[in-house]
């Protein structure tokens, strides 16, 4: 394939453009996904608050819809439109805004198929920015994917690189179930090799980012990069870590994790979401339940402390799990003895 280096942001934009080209039922809606609605200045003035959807308004007339600030209204509209043959991609600007539209996602979209006896198909994709690192403070920096993972009927996707984000977004749009697609706001400028052509990465298939024999490190989203940094720090120490990126936490490729733990006997899970009931706790519990006999040490979870995300940079940098935190956890499990 013809690959070249582009950013995570460009990869999202390219996936949206290619899917809209491929399928005329795909529409986009959200707050200022174009920008400039009703004003005297330019149309497509923003292309999304961080410029992710720029250019699509002009390319696909009538299919990129700005909304007022009315999450329940337009997320509900996206859900309703999905039941009528469209494939809406609605943007929930910050995943923190889940509070003002959760019903439409949790009680409507997620439950239609089951409640209506298998007769509803709701192919809606909700893109949301998540994560800390931009000093956006407590109400704009959360990683709320555990909330959605908890709800049967939703799928939750967390891409870790430009290659991943393009292929997983294409899959999300093509998928016939409601998908919560989580983009890390601090990754938009990350550069990576991305094929020009269109491709879709299947759900429920974890990626082994790096092979190793001593410790299995499962990392979510941006934490995959942290784990790769940790692996470099560990070079020369004699400890090799196997890094697994689940890609999708619902459905979760537990088998890939179990297969790795069977080989290494040690597990560290790195999750930027707040520590109580996050994905790290979920994966840890499942692994202990299924593979207790394979474990040579307790499972270690690397997560932030149980606090809202702080504003001051000095504090936020302490909040976010670091490569050193991962190294420390890896050493803990390798040095552990009864």
């Amino acid at each position: 394939m013809a690959s070249r280096k582009i950013s995570y942001r460009e990869a999202v934009n390219e996936a949206l453009a290619q899917e809209m080209e491929r399928d005329s039922t795909v529409i986009i809606m959200g707050e200022d996904v174009a920008g400039g609605a009703g004003g005297q200045g330019e149309d497509d003035a923003w292309g999304g608050v961080l410029g992710v959807t720029k250019g699509l308004y002009g390319k696909f007339p009538g299919r990129v819809l700005d909304t007022p600030i009315t999450e329940s209204g337009y997320i509900g509209a996206a859900v309703g439109a999905a039941t009528r043959g469209l494939r809406p991609v609605a943007e929930l600007m910050f995943i923190d805004f889940a509070g003002v539209c959760l019903d439409q996602i949790m009680n409507q979209a997620a439950k239609f198929r089951y409640m209506f006896g298998g007769k509803a198909v709701t192919p809606v994709t909700i893109r949301a920015m998540y994560g800390a690192g931009l000093r956006a403070a407590a109400q704009h920096s959360q990683a709320l994917y555990p909330l959605f993972t908890h709800i049967p009927g939703l799928k939750v996707v967390i891409p870790s690189s430009p290659y991943e984000v393009k292929g997983l977004l294409a899959q999300s749009i093509r998928d016939n179930d409601p998908v919560i697609f989580c983009e890390h706001k601090a990754m938009y400028d990350v550069i990576g090799e991305v094929p020009e052509e269109s491709y879709a990465i299947p759900f429920g298939e974890a990626n082994i980012v790096r092979e190793g024999d001593n410790v299995t490190v499962v990392a979510i989203g941006r934490m995959v990069s942290m784990a790769e940094e940790a692996a470099k720090k560990l070079e020369g120490s004699g400890i090799s870590i196997e890094i697994i990126d689940p890609r999708t936490v619902s459905p979760l490729d537990l088998d890939a994790i179990l297969e790795s733990v069977e080989n290494t006997g040690r597990l560290v899970v790195v999750d930027e979401a707040s520590p109580r009931c996050n994905i790290a706790t979920d994966i840890s519990a499942q692994v202990v339940s299924e593979a207790f006999g394979d474990l040579k040490a307790p499972v270690k979870m690397v997560s932030p402390p149980h606090v809202p995300v702080p504003f001051a940079g000095s504090l936020e940098d302490l909040y976010i799990p670091s490569a050193q935190d991962i190294v420390n956890a890896v050493k803990t499990v390798t040095e552990w003895s009864k």
Partner: protein, 338 residues
């Protein structure tokens, strides 16, 4: 300025707007709803019906008068927890409905939804909804889809006086106006949101007075008069189909049964229900109006009554004999593909 359609004296809309076949249809629909609800009331009292039911008896003219203008394939309705009447008026089959309420596999949702989630997406019925205010944003979506597809379809959101205060409803009114959607919002004001009188909980004198605040026409109509409802609904639906945007209809009437079955209704005035049944009842009024104008004979209407009674009887018998879902049904139909 909110309009009100007078239903008194010589100004009252008469039966001349409908053909003989349509008149019989309207009557059959209202009678079916009444008979269905009365029977469910009886069955519930025996303890055979699981969960909660919310009965529509007394309100038949609203669902019937509105849905008489709707097509099965291109028009959609969203409903409330009090959804049996909307279902029947939109053409959902009665036998699967009864089976669904009894939690049987032959139910419209295979027993997995129950009274509060009865749906038939193939007939444009988006489901009864257990969340107050859950419907209006969904209808913004179905109306948007119809607008994009250009098929002339209309979305009708039925909601109650309780839901008229819910944020989601107001967001939907605003969004439908901003996007100029082919939608009609029908506020069914039966006087009570659960146990609270709507005169107390709604801050405006009339729900329809809020329409101006959302940039659309507001119309008040007597909900005991199916011809009046038929006339104002017809106009609103035609306006929506022709691209004229949304309308807020306020249907004023009352419900004969409690908020839910088992509700002792101690919050209502002593003779309120009795008075409505004797002097205002929509079925009685229909019979009188068509008899006075000579359009239909009593014999024709009695025949409909008998057919409906027979259908309801069969529905109950068959539903009671049908199987309940088994363990193999528990985990199916959560996703199209996981």
């Amino acid at each position: 300025m909110t309009q009100t359609l007078s239903t008194l004296g010589s100004d009252a809309p008469d039966a001349s707007a409908l053909s003989e076949a349509q008149l019989l249809d309207v009557y059959r629909t209202m009678r079916s709803i009444r008979a269905f609800e009365d029977r469910v009331h009886e069955e519930f009292a025996t303890g055979d019906i699981p969960g909660f039911v919310h009965l529509y008896a007394g309100e038949e003219a609203s669902a019937t008068g509105v849905c008489a203008h709707l097509d099965q394939d291109r028009d959609t309705i969203a409903s409330t927890h009090r959804g049996h009447g909307h279902c029947i008026a939109k053409g959902v089959d009665i036998k699967p409905m009864m089976a669904e309420i009894l939690g049987k596999t032959t139910g419209s949702c295979h027993g997995k939804g129950g009274s509060m989630h009865i749906a038939d997406l193939s007939k444009g019925m988006l489901g009864a909804n257990g969340i107050v205010g859950g419907g209006p944003p969904l209808i913004c979506g179905t109306a948007l889809a119809a607008k994009i597809k250009g098929d002339g379809g209309v979305g009708v959101a039925f909601f109650g006086d309780g839901a008229s205060n819910q944020g989601t409803t107001m967001e939907a009114l605003n969004l439908a106006s901003v996007w100029n959607l082919p939608a009609v919002f029908v506020a069914e004001n039966n006087g009570y949101g659960e146990a609270a009188a709507s005169t107390w909980s709604v801050s405006a004198d009339n729900i329809a007075d809020r329409a101006a605040g959302f940039g659309m026409p507001g119309v008040i109509v007597d909900g005991f008069d199916v011809f009046a409802v038929y006339e104002v609904a017809g106009e609103a639906i035609r306006r929506a189909r022709e691209g004229g945007g949304p309308t807020l209809l306020e249907v004023k009437f009352t419900r004969y049964y409690g908020h839910f079955e088992g509700d002792q209704q101690t919050y209502r005035g002593k003779d309120e229900i009795q008075n409505a049944k004797e002097n205002l009842d929509c079925l009685k009024r229909f019979r009188k109006r068509v008899a006075d104008s000579g359009r239909l004979t009593d014999a024709q209407l009695d025949e409909v009554d008998a057919q409906v009674a027979q259908l309801i009887e069969e529905a109950v018998t068959e539903a009671k004999a049908a199987p309940v879902p088994g363990p193999e049904d528990l985990v199916t139909d959560v996703y199209v593909k996981y």
